[in-house]
């Protein structure tokens, strides 16, 4: 499992340039010491992230004591801190099974935003979760750490990190995993950063909060982290509004890396950015993956971004998995009709065909999802069975797909969806096939 994982780690990468071996032992000692209690008021950024999850100030005092247990320095490849006590060193990094997250709406209605989602993330892997707005991709990611709005509830399923079921953790116990095991890069860096605190201090905050480092040490490391993501250390003194969008997003990445987490989740990390800046950020994430062996979950509506950065892709539709598999297979030989239509809806600048396909209809209202397959009202290949029976998830040729066209035990041969309608400037007006 560890053979193909680069054992270099954040601290290593940073320290090679800094040659400060002493820091590292300090950091580890601090990590294994009981965490410092910090009043909530001093935890702006974290408090903002976790707003609504802390019943009261006591929650902050109840951080689960850090574990001084089994050290698995090489067991997880890149890992810098010891694994949590109950961790199974041989378990996959993250296994999500049958996850269901429902939102309670006014009037007693229930929105089944995530309705039975399963996936696995292995060490050093990048998984892209894609789908249109409202398909449940962000809710899926936020459910892992229960960073959900007050009216949302994870009602079923399990989230196993190193074999530890995070669903069984109390709110206080879960805090030990936020930032330290799983961190999130949020979409709007302007909204996710605190406008009245210096960027460097914000990057240092998880270090103080979660690892109990003292302020001076944390600030020093924050500077190193900023350098790592391509921000000159001195810019750490800047306030968020003094940085460009790309720089702010880099700062968010530095913050997400601060505690050297096992998994980094990027929730539309490049959506608001210009193409060139997006390319820079994606390049940065790629470099960090390579150098630090990061495991990444990338949530985006943009399949193109996933095509260029991820190993595997999970396509969601209306709270369920439509298709999941290696990027190369899913993008080149999409099986689910939704995947096929979705892929055609993106312009492909490297191909010669200047057309866009359309997906008929619109996503369903998840208060009253359609019977049977949730995609059937929009599916050009819908059959009778699709209207009544939910398709099971079937694995064929290394791809998991939930569609009646691919029954269990079948060959899994790709069934192409007919081209519904095509948009494009050079689509020949003479053929009449053009809209």
């Amino acid at each position: 499992m560890t053979g193909n994982i680069d054992p270099r780690r954040i601290t290593r990468a940073v320290e090679e340039s800094q040659a400060a071996e002493a820091d590292r032992s300090d950091a580890i000692r601090d990590a294994t010491a009981p965490e410092v209690t910090v009043p909530v008021g001093g935890a702006d950024t974290l408090a903002r992230v976790e707003a609504g999850f802390e019943a009261d100030a006591q929650a902050a005092a109840g951080i689960a004591p850090a574990v001084g247990g089994a050290t698995v320095p090489r067991g997880r490849g890149r890992r810098q801190w010891p694994l949590p006590k109950q961790a199974d060193p041989d378990a996959p990094l993250l296994v999500v099974e049958g996850l269901r997250t429902y939102f309670a709406m006014d009037g007693g209605a229930e929105v089944r935003a995530v309705d039975g989602v399963s996936f696995t993330l292995n060490d050093g892997e990048a998984l892209g979760i894609a789908g249109e707005s409202g398909c449940g991709k962000t809710t899926t990611a936020l459910s892992l750490l229960r960073l959900l709005p007050a009216n949302a509830r994870v009602v079923d399923g399990s989230v196993r990190l190193f074999g530890i079921d995070l669903r069984l953790k109390t709110e206080n116990q879960l805090r030990r995993y936020r930032w330290r095991e799983i961190s999130i890069i949020f979409q709007g860096a302007m909204n996710a950063l605190n406008p009245v605190r210096r960027v460097g201090d914000q990057v240092a905050e998880p270090l103080v909060e979660r690892l109990g480092q003292d302020a001076a040490e944390a600030r020093k490391r924050a500077g190193e982290l900023l350098e790592l993501v391509g921000i000159p250390k001195a810019r750490g003194r800047a306030y968020p509004h003094e940085l460009s969008g790309g720089m702010r997003q880099r700062a968010m990445i530095a913050m997400a890396l601060a505690c050297d987490p096992a998994i980094v989740i990027g929730d539309e990390p490049t959506t608001a950015l210009d193409v060139m800046v997006q390319a820079q950020i994606l390049e940065l994430l790629e470099r960090l993956r390579r150098e630090l062996g990061l495991s990444l979950i990338l949530i985006t509506h943009d399949l193109s971004v996933i095509a260029e950065t991820c190993d595997r892709v999970l396509i969601m539709y209306a709270g369920k998995v439509a298709e999941e598999g290696p990027v190369d297979t899913v993008f080149r030989r999409p099986r689910h009709p939704y995947t096929q239509l979705l892929l055609r809806a993106f312009p492909n600048i490297r191909a010669d065909v200047r057309t866009l396909g359309t997906i008929p209809g619109s996503p369903p209202d998840l208060r009253t999802p359609p019977e049977g397959c949730r995609f059937h009202p929009r599916c050009p290949l819908a059959m009778d069975v699709c209207r009544t029976e939910e398709p099971p998830e079937v694995t064929v040729h290394g791809v998991r797909v939930a569609c009646h066209l691919y029954p269990p035990g079948g060959e899994g041969t790709v069934v192409p969806v007919p081209i519904v309608e095509v948009v494009g400037a050079v689509a020949d007006p003479g053929t009449g096939s053009v809209a």
Binding site: E283, F331, I349
Partner: protein, 346 residues
Amino acid sequence: MTDLIRLEGIAVHFPVRGGLADLVRRRPAAVVRAVDGIDLTVGPGEVVGLVGESGSGKTTTGRVVVKLTRPTAGRLLLDGADVTKVWGGDALRAYRRRIQLIFQDPYETLNPKQTVHDFVAEPMVVNRTVPSAVERERIVLEAIHSAGLRPAADFAFRYPHELSGGQRQRVVIAGALVLDPDLVVADEPVSMLDVSIRTEILQLMLELRRARGLAYLFITHDLSLAWVLADRIAVMYLGRIVEVGPAPAVIGDPRNPYTRALVSVSPSPEPPAPGVRARREILAGETPDAAHVPPGCRFHPRCPLAFDRCRTDEPPLFDVGAGHASACWLAEGGRPLPAATRLAGS
């Protein structure tokens, strides 16, 4: 063929109010050169994609065309007639009847207290085009219908909060249509929308072009979207058009290093074959702000091919054939671009 709209040497410079220190030291007031001398034409029924990153001046250019921003230099021509000085009164109303605008965010464009009907009817009231209320009614319903909100009577009395994002953008389009314009300036009309809705809206726009001979100035940061939609593409960088030409030529055979870099990093839904990743030309740094335009070619500090002349002389647009032009010293005489030998860091 006369161009529908023609921009000649259009510049928009915004003065920056200096601080007290500037006043004391008698420093000259800084100027943001948002648009810095551009020529651009849109023919009747033509779709021109105006592509650029944030701060390139593409939105300001669009605002000049719809006369929301006064150019500080240059001429604006409609059907060959100079309309640069048309401001206010009947002349402006007559102009606006022919040139309409679609904004990016359908959530902010619509007044939450206004019904679809009232929003769509408003341009006619403001521009005093249709005095008869009955006639207005008919046109409003027709516009709502042709924007794809059907049955129109059903949608006419809804409020924005009762509509989805795609439906809102359709309402905005209906509002742009009621005056039966010749040109619609669409400023990122789909960048807030989901992919499937995005395609629908683009489809609608092209349908309207076919049915009515509508021309579009399609402003977007998304090169690949412009490529799909536009007949011609103009690429802007820091207030200047650096490359312009037929869409397939600009994308397939870019003659400006900036365009070429943009094309190389534009994501596509095709997983890269081995080796492709290496060919991405990721430019270091960010677009400088328009108050500090570099001397010479304004792209030279980030250009992987920059040489001495680029640092001192600003290149004009060189014709590289078939309506394709590039503002780069390397394109002088229609030469092809050399391969990027040196990348400006990364």
